[in-house]
């Protein structure tokens, strides 16, 4: 029991001691009553309501009711003092406490530009406080945008992805919703995403003074020719626009494609006999494909020969018919097989297609079968001739 | 070949296997139109084989046959169309009725349907089977089957009927009826070739007979001719008379070789080498004797047969 008491005391001393040991910070001992605001000079728009945040501070005075009033209110303005969300007439801050108030100014639409002094008073029996405000009525607040990119020019093939990252800054004093667009040659497709996101966007809010990183991907038309292209990327908010041109330097490449005639990727071949399968090699790229080699991956034991064996040159947008002589093994079972035919340009691109080759059995056996029946019938006829008609 | 010969065989021979014995050994046959010809002989003598060769169902080893002017081997259809055959113990499709059996035969023979129907009725009436025409053949007795076989030949309007032992296994009345029907065939102008063991019956219907022995035709001709050949020319009489010592009296007549009791019945059998009818009448009626019956005895086929094969055995 005693031990427990000692423990409790020691615990208490640990907790309480620092509190006792720390002196309250030395504060200047000022006493008085003040009406204060953080921004004594503000801007208001005609026809709009502006609110000024006020604070009634009591330092070291006995609390008393203080009547609130506004003086020097220009003609036609509607002025209210709000406290706790309601219109109040007086406030009473406790000792060393403050009361938060709002001055609501409702300006008529025809208010002339200029600076209007407005005075707010708090009057008590013993103490008074006064605050002088300057309300400036002027034109609109201008929005202001800017954008810049570190890599405004990219180089690539028609298959590469052209991606530009922009930093868009809202330089104005207010939040803006920024819309994006891009102008480019026909068929160029811009897509906007956040720099580190994948969601496509076409507008984004930016708070006053903030910046955002935006990514633009420019999709290219399939048949784009080699060359330099400029795309103007634009950010728009309210009535301001920021614009940066980006450059796409497209270098040409061949793009091969292998297909069947009329899109048919099938053929038939008899076991042990070469049968032609027509294969079409086309260059859908933007540069000439040179020295296209033709190869095939066949079921084992099969052979394939191409006619021609090699395509020297295939300009972009052109196609060439190649005959592949496919010869299944003599032992191949009837059924459908996959034969992959491939075209590979010397430098770069290659393409392949899977052809379905239906192996048919040789009709030779059908003829042999008929022969067998014929022989059997001949034997019968012979027997009839020799022994028949009794 | 003369016109009225329907079957003519020359040197017809059939050998089975490689042995020296021939089932049919160089036989000559000539059967005239409208004749009933009998084939006689012991079992295995070659009668059926001869018939099969005539029909073209068996090939001859040697010799030729001509049936109605056709070779049965070269033109079998011509021959079979005009020849009717009743095999030894004929069979029918038991599950079919007589009519259905005959319709099948008619179709095989190429007789058209309406005509066949008419002919079936007719021929079945002739063999007196009209009542059982639509009964299944399974219900037929042996005699009825034989008659059905005959009806088939009638229906075919065959020009030659070949009957292999048609009366074997028939009761006396059925035999009699059947023989009547064979005579009916003859009346229609059909040549009939019949093989049989029933000598009496053969004798009663056949115009001519051929006696087979071991594949050869031993004897051929009418029964009288055969009798002369085998038994010699005989003038035997059967005499039935009342009086004393009739037998002795008859025995004294010149030319009478023997007087003996006959095998059956009453009277006396007088064997003579010449015609002694007048002397016998005179002798029997002498001294108040009364002649009740006197009859010339034809040579019986039975006797010829027996005598012949006895002779063959003796010779062997």
């Amino acid at each position: 029991m005693r031990r427990a008491l000692v423990l409790l005391v020691s615990l208490l001393s640990i907790t309480i001691f620092p509190a006792l040991a720390a002196d309250p910070p030395a504060q200047p001992r000022v006493t008085g009553l003040w009406l204060i605001t953080e921004y004594p000079s503000t801007v208001a728009k005609p026809g709009e309501t502006t609110t000024v945040k006020l604070k009634l501070q009591n330092a070291g005075l006995a609390p008393e009711a203080l009547a609130l009033s506004v003086a020097n209110v220009p003609q036609g303005w509607k002025v209210d003092i709000l406290g706790g969300g309601q219109v109040v007439g007086a406030a009473m801050p406790a000792i060393n406490e403050s009361v938060t108030l709002n001055l609501r100014l409702e300006l008529p639409a025809n208010t002339a530009p200029g600076t209007y002094p407005v005075t707010v008073n708090a009057k008590g029996a013993t103490n008074n406080a006064e605050l002088k405000l300057a309300i400036t009525v002027g034109g609109d607040v201008a929005a202001k945008l800017s954008m810049k990119t570190r890599l405004p020019a990219l180089r690539g093939t028609p298959k590469s992805s052209f991606e530009y990252t922009f930093t868009v800054s809202n330089d104005s004093g207010k939040d803006l919703v920024v819309r994006f667009a891009a102008d480019g040659p026909r068929g160029f497709q811009p897509t906007f995403t956040e720099a580190f996101g994948s969601n496509e966007i076409n507008q984004i809010p930016i708070e006053a003074g903030q910046t955002k990183d935006i990514k633009v991907r420019v999709g290219l038309p399939r048949d784009v020719a080699a060359g330099d292209y400029t795309v103007k990327v634009r950010a728009t908010a309210e009535n301001v626009t920021a614009e940066t041109p980006v450059t796409l330097q497209i270098v040409g490449t061949p793009t091969l494609r292998v297909s069947g005639r009329d899109g048919r990727l099938s053929g038939a071949a008899e076991a042990g006999t070469a049968s032609p399968v027509i294969m079409i090699v086309s260059n859908e790229g933007s540069a000439v494909a040179e020295d296209i080699e033709l190869t095939g991956t066949m079921p084992s034991g099969w052979t394939v020969e191409f006619e021609p064996k090699l395509i020297d040159k295939l300009p972009p947008g052109e196609k060439k018919e190649v005959t592949a002589q496919i010869k299944p093994t003599a032992k191949a079972l009837a059924g459908d097989y996959i034969a992959t035919l491939r075209a590979a340009a010397k430098a770069g691109d290659s393409a392949s297609a899977d052809f379905r080759v239906a192996v048919t059995t040789s009709t030779l056996w059908g003829i042999v079968g008929i022969g067998v029946i014929a022989v059997a019938l001949l034997v019968l006829v012979g027997a009839v001739a020799r022994f028949g008609r009794r | 070949m003369s016109d009225d010969l329907v079957i003519e065989a020359k040197g017809l021979t059939r050998r089975y296997g490689r042995g020296p014995t021939l089932a049919v050994d160089h036989i000559d046959l000539a059967i005239k139109k409208g004749e009933i010809f009998g084939l006689l002989g012991p079992n295995g003598a070659g009668k059926t084989t001869t018939i099969l060769m005539v029909l073209g169902l068996t090939e001859s080893t040697e010799g030729t046959v001509s049936v109605l002017g056709h070779d049965p081997l070269r033109e079998p259809l011509q021959v079979k169309r005009r020849v009717g055959y009743l095999p030894d113990s004929v069979g029918f499709y038991d599950n079919l009725s007589a009519r259905e059996n005959l319709i099948f035969t008619a179709r095989l023979a190429g007789i058209d349907k309406a005509e066949a129907g008419k002919r079936i009725e007719e021929s079945m009436a002739r063999v007196r089977l009209t009542d059982v025409l639509d009964n299944r053949v399974a219900t037929y007795s042996r005699g009825m089957r034989q008659r059905l076989g005959l009806a088939e030949i009638l229906m075919k309007r065959a020009e030659i009927a070949i009957l292999d032992e048609p009366t074997s296994g028939l009761d006396p009345h059925a035999t009699f009826e059947f023989l009547e029907m064979i005579r009916g065939l003859k009346a229609d102008g059909v040549a009939v070739l019949v093989s049989s063991h029933a000598l009496e019956q053969v004798q009663s219907v056949c115009d001519r007979v051929a006696l087979f022995n071991k594949g050869k035709i031993a004897l051929q001709g009418t029964v009288e001719e055969l009798g002369e050949q085998v038994l010699g020319l005989r003038h035997d009489l059967l005499v039935e008379a009342d009086g004393q010592d009739i037998a002795a009296r008859l025995g004294k007549i010149e030319g009478v070789s023997a007087v003996e009791p006959p095998g059956s019945g009453r009277g006396l059998l007088v064997r003579a080498d010449r015609d002694v009818t007048a002397e016998v009448v005179a002798a029997a009626t002498r001294d108040g004797g009364r002649l009740r019956q006197i009859r010339a005895i034809e040579p019986s086929l039975q006797a010829i047969y027996n005598r012949y094969f006895e002779g063959v055995k003796d010779a062997a």
Partner: protein
Amino acid sequence: MRREGSPFTGTGAVFAKEYADHLGSARMRVIEALVVIVGVVVVWVAMRDLKDKVTQDQFIFLRLFTYAPESNPVNFAGLLTFLIPLVAIGLGFDAINGEFNRRTMSRVLSQPIYRDALLIGKFLAGLATLATGLIALWLLVMGGGLIVLGVPPSGEEVARGLAFLVIATAYGGVWLAIAMLCSIIFRSAATSALTALGIWLFFSFLWPVIAPAIFDGILPLIAPQRVLAGSATADDVAGLLDVQQLIMRFSPTVVFQEAWLGVFSPDQFTEQQIMRIRLDPRLGHRVIPGSPLSFGQSLLMVWPQFTFMVAGAIVIFTLGYVSFQRQEVRA
């Protein structure tokens, strides 16, 4: 020796009578009962097991013929492999000796026809009876399948079914020819039936056992040296396998099984082919599985089997024909 007239005179009459006899006979009643039982069982089993696969399977109607429940692995076509010879033997074992035993032969042959007509007429009548039974059974299964499965068969399925009918009839023809040969050789119907059944038993049950033994026996004679040395190439194995299969094919049963498998299983390799692929995997390389063969290809595949059966039936028939022509007709 040249003889006048057509050998076929009277064939029609013989055919008509024999066909009518067969159809009206007690034997046919038994066959009909078998047909109905088999048909109903097949459809019933299919109803039980195949009904919910209708939409998944392109060849659902063909499955009616090849489907075998696990509990009782006998399918319709397999059943027919055994039923058809039995029926054919039943129809043919007393074709010729029956005529002798009824003593109708010489009476019939004394009509203006050749023996050819009798033999051919009887053979064709037996074949027609068999075909009639098969068609009835086929219609029963197809009709039942239609009711139970609720979808119509495709044109190709019908064509394949008809091809099967033709093949099955050819198979029946082989056994009918064997049965008739026995009926020509043996005068006793019982001996004939027993011999024919013996041949059937031999080829259906014993041959599949004997054939591999024969193959093993001749292997040292036909195999290349390297095979015996234990280093066979895939080609060697495939070649030897063909030889073994060739020996197997002396049995009509084996041939028929190959044929119906080929017709009814367009979308799968036949067992034999699967075995070949297993032994020589190169053959199965880059195969697109489950791609059905066209009808024409299936026919080509089973054509050798079909011709074998047709030619076999003709040859056996010829044997019977020759021995019948040499026989003496005395009854």
